[in-house]
């Protein structure tokens, strides 16, 4: 019963979401990878909002077959309660007529099982896709690294025409996705001159990090009150989104 309900719910939400996206046609920026998606999502959302654009991002791990549509429609989950799902289903239908739908959606795409990426792309096809890291996380659900890579290869091949794929050079698996891309690829990272958004230094200070980076031959420095290389990379990707006027 539970399984049947979940399938019905999944397809109902998918149908409504596709309809909403068809009507409102937002620019979709998708972020995928084994870790750090949320930090990239938050940084990009911040950069777009600073430019005066209207943005919606998925909250806390709403990045799977049920969570993603809920995030796009901006409605809450009913979690494990049939009773709580009833008003959610009604809200989903009302979302078709939402006013002030944002012009940008910044969405995490979570991959935990084989076929997840294909399913998520059947709901939403991004203009820009970013891959943060590929590690062995969730490998238990796949029969090997190749199968897990297959999910990201699907993403690389299916970014919308005219869009961009933004990849982490420092992760060898992510770097290799370029050969499958049908749209221009931009790299971010630290290691090579081939990197478009290159981090030159992450200076740890008492109250945060100073990120020195180079994008399109322009030196930049941004100070943030966070710690860790993942934040430095998120900052650079945020600036790519800004400069490229995505």
């Amino acid at each position: 019963m539970k399984k049947i309900f979940k399938i019905i719910l999944q397809y109902y939400l998918k149908f409504i979401t596709k309809l909403v996206l068809l009507i409102h046609r937002p620019t979709v920026i998708a972020i995928s990878g084994s870790v750090n998606k949320s930090f990239f999502r938050d940084e990009i959302k911040k950069v777009l909002a600073e430019q005066g654009k209207t943005v919606r991002a998925n909250p806390k791990n709403f990045n799977t077959e049920i969570g993603l549509p809920l995030a796009i429609l901006n409605i809450e989950s009913g979690y494990n309660s049939y009773r709580r799902w009833l008003p959610v289903l009604a809200s989903a239908a009302k979302a078709i007529f939402q006013k002030n739908f944002p012009t940008y959606l910044v969405l995490e795409l979570g991959v935990a099982q084989r076929g997840d990426m294909r399913y998520l792309f059947s709901i939403v096809k991004p203009q820009v896709a970013i891959v943060t890291e590929i590690t062995q996380r969730y490998i238990e659900s796949f029969s090997g690294m190749d199968k897990l890579m297959g999910e990201y290869i699907y993403l690389a091949k299916n970014v919308k025409k005219g869009g961009k794929l933004i990849l982490n050079w420092d992760n060898e698996k992510v770097r290799r996705l370029k050969k499958y891309a049908k749209v221009p690829v931009l790299y971010f990272g630290t290691d090579s001159k081939e990197v478009d958004g290159r981090i030159e230094e992450i200076k740890k200070e008492i109250d945060g990090i100073m990120v020195k980076f180079n994008y399109k031959d322009r030196q930049n420095e941004i100070k943030i009150n966070r710690f860790g290389a993942h934040h430095a990379k998120a900052v650079v990707v945020g600036q790519i989104v800004k400069v490229e006027n995505i």
């Binding site: 806390k60 494990n80 996380r137 008492i206 710690f227 860790g228």
Partner: protein
């Protein structure tokens, strides 16, 4: 033989529980365990992980990446900024985190200052590490506040750290920002670590209430080690999962001890912790409302026994620490003849089958007090006080 353990004691709380278990009709206000079951959203997260077959193997020693990412985000909401990859460590409950921290920071012979009354196990861990716990009394007259002058007097060249619990168990005190900043100033002057056990930080009974943490101050990040456990906030005492965070220079040392103690926190419990952070907010609010009502209830009962107890109203956690106003307890017990709080607790257990913890368990300054937990249901609290009222008249 047993040189390392000869000065350790089985926790008084456990001793009381053992004694209480001999009485079939006992109501225990002794153990600090929530009476709630773990919220459904947490169980579901774990069920999903079990079905996917991803809980059988060790995680990375610092913990599952996804959980540490969630903790980094949660901390940022509370104005604390730490790198999940290098500065956040998932532990097997807070006590494992405390043990790993003390073993990493101290050398045998060092002294660790503990404001008291406070949680009983700190003393044992410090002793186990070959260090000396130095007790500094909290001021009951000022609502169990710090007296900084006493801390100053307790510092010696051997002092390595000040270790406090905020909100405090057993008094339910929330230390003010001003008091904590005073403590931080002392720590900076004498180059000491500050170990902050904040397992009760989610127990907020008043609107707009916020618990300040020294881990919010960037200048102190190499000095402060902050610990949290999912046990109390999310009714997960049996799951044994918590976390600690500090600057990477400190964490890399604690990690070595953590790895040698437990390899990693139980993976299944780490998935439970993820469920708590992802979906547990609503349950947290509901449980807090319940605890708030129980706090009011237990205080009302204590007011009706004002000839037996005086007390400071707890601001947080689920304990109240009343002072015993009786001068003498007519109870013969050779083992604890010098302690009023022991005699009171044993007498109460024998005569009413209500178990409480003798205050001396929380340090010398806890003598003449008892700890009562309102983690138990309203029904149990009412029954326990019904018996006490009949007994004390």
């Amino acid at each position: 033989m047993f040189e390392r353990t000869k000065n350790l004691n089985l926790s008084v709380i456990k001793q009381m529980e053992l004694r209480a278990s001999k009485y079939p009709d006992v109501i225990s206000l002794a153990q600090g365990v929530p009476n709630f079951d773990t919220p459904e959203c947490i169980k579901r997260r774990v069920e999903l992980a079990l079905k996917r077959g991803i809980v059988a193997k060790y995680s990375l020693s610092p913990g599952i990446s996804e959980l540490r990412e969630l903790i980094e985000m949660k901390l940022a909401q509370d104005n604390m900024f730490y790198d999940w990859e290098k500065e956040i460590l998932i532990t097997a409950g807070s006590i494992e985190g405390i043990t790993a921290t003390i073993l990493a920071l101290t050398n045998p012979g060092d002294e660790v200052i503990i404001p008291q009354p406070t949680y009983t196990s700190y003393r044992e861990v410090i002793t186990l590490a070959g260090c000396t716990p130095v007790f500094v009394s909290l001021d009951e007259e000022k609502g169990w506040a710090f007296d900084l002058e006493k801390f100053k007097q307790a510092i010696t060249p051997k002092t390595k750290a000040i270790f406090y619990c905020n909100p405090n168990n057993p008094t339910g005190t929330i230390y003010s920002e001003e008091q904590l900043r005073g403590l931080a100033k002392l720590a900076e002057e004498h180059d000491l670590y500050l170990i902050s056990d904040e397992v009760y930080k989610d127990f907020l009974f008043e609107k707009e209430q916020k618990i300040f943490s020294l881990a919010e101050i960037p200048e102190l990040r190499k000095r402060v080690i902050r610990l949290f456990s999912f046990s109390k906030s999310y009714a997960m005492t049996g799951w044994r999962v918590g976390y600690l965070h500090s600057d990477e220079s400190v964490i890399k040392e604690i990690l070595k001890v953590h790895d040698s103690l437990v390899t990693c926190a139980p993976v299944i419990s780490q998935f439970g912790a993820m469920g708590a952070l992802e979906m547990g907010d609503k349950d947290l609010i509901e449980m807090n409302e319940e605890y708030s009502q129980r706090r009011d209830l237990i205080c009302k009962h204590l007011d009706e026994l004002s000839h037996v107890f005086s007390y400071v109203r707890p601001e947080s956690a689920y304990f109240v620490f009343p002072k015993i106003l009786l001068d003498k307890i007519d109870y013969a017990d050779d083992e604890h003849s010098g302690s009023l709080s022991w005699k009171f607790a044993l007498n109460l257990l024998e005569k009413t089958q209500v178990a409480v913890v003798p205050g001396v368990a929380f340090g010398p300054n806890g003598e003449n007090h008892i700890r009562m937990s309102f983690g138990r249901s309203e029904e149990d609290i009412n029954k326990a006080f019904g018996r006490m009222k009949r007994f004390f008249g």
